[in-house]
């Protein structure tokens, strides 16, 4: 017992960094997911030419807190004859899978919970695919027909698009040559980001990841006009909040994987070009620009509370600018330059990817379930397999022909095959081709 305690304290001391980062992640994640919901509502409102939540707190900023409080104090309804243990465990499984997947993701050069994992990117994919059990068991344990059907539909969709997502990731991994997350990002340092070498792979991953996270236009299992709310029908209050938390965490996980594989991870644009080194000063300048904009708009506000609100936002942005500028200017903070700036670029790219998710939700109508399955099996999987084949051929010929030539030829071949699949899919059902890159 003595040695066990000693061993544990030694382990904690050796891994203090990752453990602290894990605690920070798990503590901040509900807050981040809640504010992601608010961001989604505000962006949805912006695209629909309205204002979104404005009442609770300045510009609706306390809305997630009000929502969380409401969900926590709601009555906990459990259906009759529901399997209690499984009913309780299912939402927890979804959240556990999503949060564990975040453990292997690197937000910056040293900002990772599970460092040096030899199979880093596969770990993220594998563990987040365990979230399917949360859905299937939740739908089954609710003892309701709608829930079971919704759960089966949702898990069939997830399983179908997992293969396409995996193949799209393989095309990025072929270029990286390693499964370690740090290795994948470092491989993009000397070359362009992998999206330039494998654009078909990136767009396949984009579509597949939208389907993987049950987001529109693939959100049939949880749309309100279909099967009530699918597998979440019988869940109310905090359990529903857990499912929602797992969905938004999955969005962040999927965006992080895409950023790591295709968008250069934590590297700034043109990371190895020295004469573009002035881009290092871009993050603090961006934050200073936002601060200046807020300060300029302060005198134009009619109400005092809005003036204070804008001043608070300006203060936060100035603080951010200071944190970003400190490693550039102050000598004691210089070792943290890579981590701080890397985190900023990583979060910027993840936010851009999630913005595309939100944009798709408010722009495209929903796919019917059979159209969804046809798109997955008859279009995305063949396209991603052909893409991997083409990329493999191009890389194998890399020492004889220039890389850009072989990549251009194989990408063109892949796009031609994709176009043929679109037309063939339309002809076989007699309706205008329902499949196509979203």
């Amino acid at each position: 017992m003595q040695e066990l305690v000693h061993g544990l304290t030694q382990f904690a001391r050796m891994n203090a960094g990752p453990l602290a980062f894990a605690v920070v992640l798990v503590a901040l994640l509900p807050l981040m997911a809640g504010y992601l919901v608010l961001l989604e509502r505000k962006i949805m409102a912006d695209m629909q030419v309205r204002l979104g939540p404005m009442r609770v707190g300045p510009h609706g900023l306390l809305q997630p807190i009000a929502d969380a409080l409401k969900l926590l104090i709601k009555e906990d309804i459990i259906p009759e004859n529901a399997d209690l243990l499984v009913f309780w465990v299912a939402p927890a499984t979804s959240v556990m899978a999503a949060m564990t997947a975040l453990a292997a993701i690197a937000f910056g050069p040293g900002l990772q919970v599970a460092r040096d994992l030899n199979v880093g990117i596969l770990f993220v994919v594998g563990v987040s695919s365990l979230g399917i059990f949360g859905i299937v068991l939740g739908g089954w344990a609710s003892n309701s027909h709608y829930s079971l059907l919704g759960a089966l539909r949702s898990s069939a969709q997830l399983v179908s698009y997992e293969t396409a997502a995996g193949m799209a990731m393989v095309s990025g991994l072929l270029l990286a040559g390693t499964l370690q997350i740090r290795g994948i990002v470092e491989a993009q340092r000397g070359h362009w980001w992998f999206i330039c070498y494998a654009p078909v792979g990136f767009f396949t991953y984009l579509v597949a990841s939208v389907a993987e996270t049950n987001r529109a236009p693939f959100d049939l299992p949880e749309a309100e006009s279909e099967l009530v709310a699918g597998y979440m029908t019988e869940y109310s209050g905090f359990r529903w909040a857990l499912y929602f938390l797992s969905e938004y965490t999955n969005m962040i996980v999927v965006a992080s994987v895409a950023t790591t594989l295709f968008l250069g991870g934590w590297l700034r644009p043109f990371a190895s070009v020295r004469w573009l080194g002035f881009l290092d000063y871009l993050p603090p300048l961006l934050m200073l620009a936002v601060t200046a904009y807020c300060l300029v708009r302060v005198p134009q506000q009619p109400v005092a509370v809005q003036k204070w609100f804008l001043l608070a936002v300006a203060g936060c942005c100035a603080l951010g600018a200071g944190m970003l500028a400190a490693p550039l200017a102050l000598a004691p903070a210089k070792p943290y330059f890579a981590a701080v700036h890397g985190c900023f670029w990583f979060l910027l790219k993840v936010s851009a990817y999630i913005y595309v998710f939100l944009w798709l939700r408010f722009t495209l109508p929903r796919y019917r379930f059979d159209q969804l399955m046809r798109l997955g099996w008859q279009f995305l999987i063949p396209v991603s397999i052909v893409n991997v084949l083409g990329l493999g051929v191009a890389l194998a010929l890399a020492d004889r022909w220039p890389l850009w030539a072989s990549l251009a030829v194989t990408t063109l071949a892949t796009l031609l095959i994709a176009a043929y699949l679109v037309r063939a899919g339309g002809r076989s059902t007699g309706e205008p081709a329902a499949a196509g890159k979203a």
Partner: protein, 177 residues
């Protein structure tokens, strides 16, 4: 560190054995499936503790995330409430118990005495990990080199096997042949 290694092994081993017992004894097939998932994840943990990282992730993705999803789907498709109220163990359970005990005793004896018989191998007390290497070998690369090097023929045969299994499963589950 060695102590933490040992603790991890015993924790995972305990979870695996308890989950396995629960798999075999539950009345409800979905509960059995859930406990099989935990048993598989505990086995994956043991693989990770043995520093077989690629096998750990293959176990999680394929076994726990693929085969078990298939099992859970089929259980939900054939779930019969009437099956829950019937006898769970068949008529040969006592004979089977005796036979299994004999098997367990034989195998246990083999493991226990290995090493005391000359020429019978390293013995049960050989440390499962010889002097730790200064740096972890990149496990995925080594497995990949092995798979595409000496063992490429079984790899190709395995892909043919999977194709055959896919066609077989589709044919078996169709409504009219």
């Amino acid at each position: 560190m060695h102590l933490l290694d040992k603790a991890l092994f015993y924790v995972f081993a305990g979870v695996a054995v308890i989950s396995a017992v629960l798999v075999v004894t539950r009345r409800n097939a979905v509960h059995s499936a859930i406990f099989l998932i935990t048993a598989l994840l505990a086995t994956a943990g043991i693989f990770l503790q043995l520093q077989a990282e690629f096998l750990f992730i293959v176990q999680v993705i394929l076994y726990a995330g693929g085969i078990m999803v298939l099992f859970v789907f089929v259980i939900m498709l054939v779930n019969l409430d009437v099956a829950l109220r019937q006898v769970q163990f068949n008529r040969q359970k006592w004979v089977a118990g005796i036979v299994v005990l004999a098997l367990a005793a034989q195998l246990g004896l083999v493991i226990w005495t290995a090493g005391r018989i000359p020429g019978a191998g390293p013995g049960p007390n050989a440390a499962a990990s010889p002097a730790p290497a200064p740096q972890l070998q990149p496990n995925a690369e080594m497995v990949a080199r092995s798979l595409f090097g000496p063992y490429v023929l079984p790899l190709e045969i395995a892909s043919v096997l999977l194709l055959v299994a896919m066609i077989g499963a589709v044919v078996m589950a169709k409504r009219k042949v």
